[in-house]
């Protein structure tokens, strides 16, 4: 019996010997190398098709059979880890001692065992996955990373708001001989240009989240610039807009319109080139190889065939994207296109300019060009001065007047070209100018604006607003100075403001940022990533339940402490034996 116990102990000692441990660690290192030189199915871009294409079908089958395309989750690798764990366990049992020179040894080996144990607890009882939410959306389930399926969460997560913040913008000042100085402008600071010390640039006010405000004011512009204030009433929306008589000379004070109706204000001496009259937004599909064109009304759910395409290609309008913020791309369509067996999703946008009827085209995989055009009637408001000012609304088609209608101030007029659209002339200014400034938007807009005061070489000074990377991103003051204001491409922070709620508890609002997860019950919610597609912001949150995490963290701390103790604090007697 004693003999047998002795043998058992001997076996444990051998399994836990430094020699066995060292060999196992070296073998584990070699096995790990395999998982970095062979494409892994668990990493992005590791679908079976991609890996098979990379190595060829035959080689891929061999790799797959040996689990070499997922080394770290393969049974043989886990078995190696298990063996190393067993060896450590044996070492800890056979050589455990509270003697000072053994403390480091015990801490380090027990630490690794805890890490492996914690990892196993996660493997058995842990869950991890992704919740993808658009602003305003809520979810009570997640895409499990391991099970590759949707699983329920014990609470709901609602994304109230998602915000991306960028690093401060940079301002560049360029002199007459292309001398340049760039600064990160700060409110209250002052800059003296090195090449012209008579000029002073004062940064008066800086807005991190700015909104542009445009106002038309009566003013003494030379030559006089008449402007009309119009109200547009349609079943879907109401628009309040200013129009200048010569929009090509003066900036348009566009308040809101949806691109279906353009209104131009003209006096008799400013001719207007008229586009075709249509009220229905149209999708235009052009095959540039054959010149064939298909035009269909842009309604959600409409199917269409692409002209002269082999193999046959078709599409469907999935969704009409409105353009609430009046961005440069204008309203758009989301399309689903079938080309042979391939399926693609595309966005096409109408260009959003009253003066320009060009379609915004997008090339589809070298096959077709798909254009999405909003045809608009051109309504012209005319002012005739004799005898006295007379206003009339005129609609035209191909430079030919279709109808005219006299207008009186504050009396709505039905637009005959566009059903159920009323236009009211609110006010006419014989001479007007536009003023633009920025105000705090009160929410993250991603637009930074700065109020500057620049003193000129003649002693006078000028105050004006600029916005980083926007329409007011550059300013040429005179021959001697040009200013550029450029937004930084570097993201400083992104965060999700979420509401977490469950059946029992009160909904709780919290903010999740990178490096700052939120705890809820046994779960943690992390900011994993985001995507911005057009105007839609999508936040990717990771949700994790890991009952073994505390073990792992404790084990990691013990491991470091143990090795520090062994290498730096071991008593001199123990160190002597290490000497060569």
């Amino acid at each position: 019996m004693t003999q047998r116990r002795f043998r058992m102990w001997d076996l444990l000692e051998r399994a836990g010997s430094a020699r066995a441990g060292g060999t196992l660690l070296a073998v584990l290192a070699g096995a790990s190398v395999l998982g970095t030189v062979i494409l892994q199915s668990t990493l992005p871009g590791g679908s079976p098709e991609e890996i098979a294409r990379h190595y060829g079908q035959g080689a891929w089958r061999v790799l797959e059979a040996l689990r070499l395309t997922d080394v770290f989750h393969a049974l043989w690798y886990q078995a190696l880890l298990g063996l190393a764990g067993l060896s450590m366990l044996c070492a800890t049992i056979t050589r455990f001692s509270l003697r000072r020179e053994k403390i480091g040894f015990a801490l380090a080996h027990a630490g690794v065992l805890l890490v492996l144990g914690g990892g196993m607890v996660y493997f058995v009882r842990g869950e991890k996955g992704i919740v993808t939410l658009r602003e305003g959306e809520a979810a009570g389930k997640f895409e499990s990373a391991r099970a590759r399926e949707t699983r329920p969460l014990p609470f709901t997560v609602k994304l109230d708001r998602f915000a991306v913040e960028y690093y401060p913008a940079e301002m560049v000042f360029v002199g007459p001989n292309r001398e340049a100085v760039s600064v990160k402008p700060q409110a209250g600071r002052e800059l003296v240009l090195p090449w012209d010390t008579t000029r002073r640039i004062r940064f008066k006010e800086r807005l991190e989240n700015a909104r542009r405000v445009v106002e038309v004011l009566p003013g003494s512009s030379t030559p006089p610039e008449p402007a009309a204030h119009l109200s547009l009433e349609t079943p879907e929306y109401h628009a309040d807009l200013w129009r200048f008589a010569r929009p090509s000379d003066a900036p348009d004070a566009l308040v809101k319109t949806d691109g279906r109706i353009a209104v131009t204000f003209s006096t008799r001496d400013s001719p207007v080139v008229e586009p075709p009259l249509r009220t229905q937004p149209m999708l235009v599909v052009i095959n540039h190889a054959t010149g064939a064109v298909v035009e269909i009304p842009a309604d959600a759910g409409k199917m269409f065939m692409m002209p002269d395409v082999t193999p046959a290609a078709s599409g469907e309008i999935l969704e009409i994207l409105d353009d609430p913020d009046a961005t440069a791309v204008g309203p758009g369509l989301r399309l689903q296109l079938h080309v042979g067996k391939r399926m693609e999703w595309r966005h096409v946008f109408a260009k959003f300019s009253d003066m320009d009827m060009d379609a915004a085209n997008t090339r589809l995989s070298g096959l077709d060009e798909i254009g999405f055009v909003y045809y608009r009637p051109r309504l012209v408001l005319e002012v005739m001065e004799k005898p006295g000012p007379v206003y009339q609304l005129r609609s035209s088609h191909a430079a030919e007047t279709v109808w005219t209608q006299p207008m009186k101030l504050r009396e709505p007029v039905d637009v005959r070209a566009a059903e159920s659209v009323k236009v009211t002339l609110l006010e006419v200014l014989p001479s007007a100018h536009v003023e633009t400034w920025y105000e705090d938007a009160g929410q993250p807009t991603g637009v930074e604006a700065m109020l500057l005061e620049v003193s000129g070489p003649d002693g006078g000074s000028k105050r004006f607003w600029m916005s980083a990377g926007g329409d007011d991103g550059t300013a040429r003051l005179d021959e001697g100075l040009m200013i550029g204001y450029m937004a930084s491409p570097d993201v400083r922070e992104y965060r999700s403001e979420i509401t977490v709620g469950d059946a029992a508890g009160v909904p709780e609002r919290c903010t999740v940022r990178v490096n700052h997860p939120v705890r809820r019950g046994g779960w943690e919610i992390f900011q994993e990533g985001y995507s911005i597609d057009g105007m839609r912001r999508t936040s990717r949150l990771a949700v994790v339940r890991d009952p073994g995490l505390a073990w792992v963290l404790a084990g990691l701390v013990m491991l470091s402490a143990g090795i520090f103790f062994s290498c730096f604090l071991r008593p001199a007697t123990a160190r002597v034996e290490d000497r060569a």
Binding site: A18, L28, S488, N515, I563, F568
Partner: protein, 273 residues
């Protein structure tokens, strides 16, 4: 090149030459003193650069390869200096100073505009993680160099007169510098895991960069286990050279792996050579 870094490079280089001269002429104590003095001065210049950059950026200058390599050179010099102070480093000392100069020279190629910190790097773990790792890199560089010296001397025939001088005590230096490196290598790995848990919701994700950090740690850990069994000689020296190689592969080589395009994290932005 930045003035402080240029100065540092010149001083490391001088220290290396003087250190080598010292190993050839051990009867001239002047070489030892001047080598140590120039090495210290070079370290002070590099440390000043790090402190001033940290202050002007507002964050540790280790987000780009340039700053990392300045720190690495400083750590190589620091470990070499601490070994000098414990005893006779001789050949390895001069070689380490030259290695520090070499690292700094490579680092100069990557100098450029610094980009502000991305969200994941804005963490309290950032500076300690990088500092631990580079102390480990410095120590294991010295250890690997000692291993190379040992292997070269053995290859040239250790018994022959003149060559034996290089073998004398070199194994002790392999061990001593590894003993500095291993705890910091472990701490760096552990801090990285804890940080990844907070930033990526995962203390370990088998990313190629992580795996190579683990491989390095495994080789060094295996080396210590075998050292404990009393094994010495060519195998141990070769293994330490291998460990140092794995370490540098983690820093530079991972980008060349077929799995690199699958890597989730790029800890260091790609350089602009």
């Amino acid at each position: 090149m930045n003035f402080l870094l240029g100065l540092s490079l010149a001083l490391y280089g001088m220290s290396g030459m003087l250190g080598l001269a010292h190993s050839a002429r051990r009867d001239a104590p002047l070489f030892r003193g001047t080598s140590l003095a120039t090495l210290t001065a070079g370290m002070v210049a590099s440390a000043l650069w790090i402190v001033t950059s940290w202050h002007s950026f507002g964050y540790p200058p280790f987000a780009e390869l340039h700053g990392c390599l300045v720190l690495l050179a400083l750590c190589v010099a620091m470990v070499s200096l601490s070994l000098w102070l414990v005893g006779e480093v001789r050949f390895v000392g001069g070689l380490s100073s030259l290695a520090a100069a070499g690292v700094l020279m490579v680092g100069a190629r990557y100098a450029g505009e610094s980009r502000p910190l991305m969200p994941a790097l804005q963490s309290l773990y950032f500076a300690p993680h990088v500092l631990s790792y580079f102390i480990a890199y410095g120590a294991l560089t010295v250890s690997g160099l000692s291993g190379l010296v040992f292997l070269a001397a053995k290859g040239l025939g250790g018994k022959r007169a003149g060559v034996g001088v290089f073998l004398d005590g070199v194994e002790t230096w392999i061990f001593r510098s590894a003993r500095i490196g291993f705890p910091f290598l472990t701490l760096g790995l552990v801090l990285g895991a804890i940080w990844a848990q907070a930033a990526y919701a995962d203390y370990w994700s088998w990313d190629p960069k992580e795996v190579w950090a683990l491989i390095t740690w495994l080789v060094v850990a295996a080396w210590f286990h075998l050292w404990r069994t009393g094994r010495r000689g060519v195998l141990m020296a070769a293994m330490m050279v291998l460990a140092a190689g794995a370490l540098y592969f983690t820093l530079f080589g991972v980008n060349f792996l077929p799995t690199a395009r699958q890597s989730l994290h790029t800890y260091i932005e790609s350089p602009n050579p």
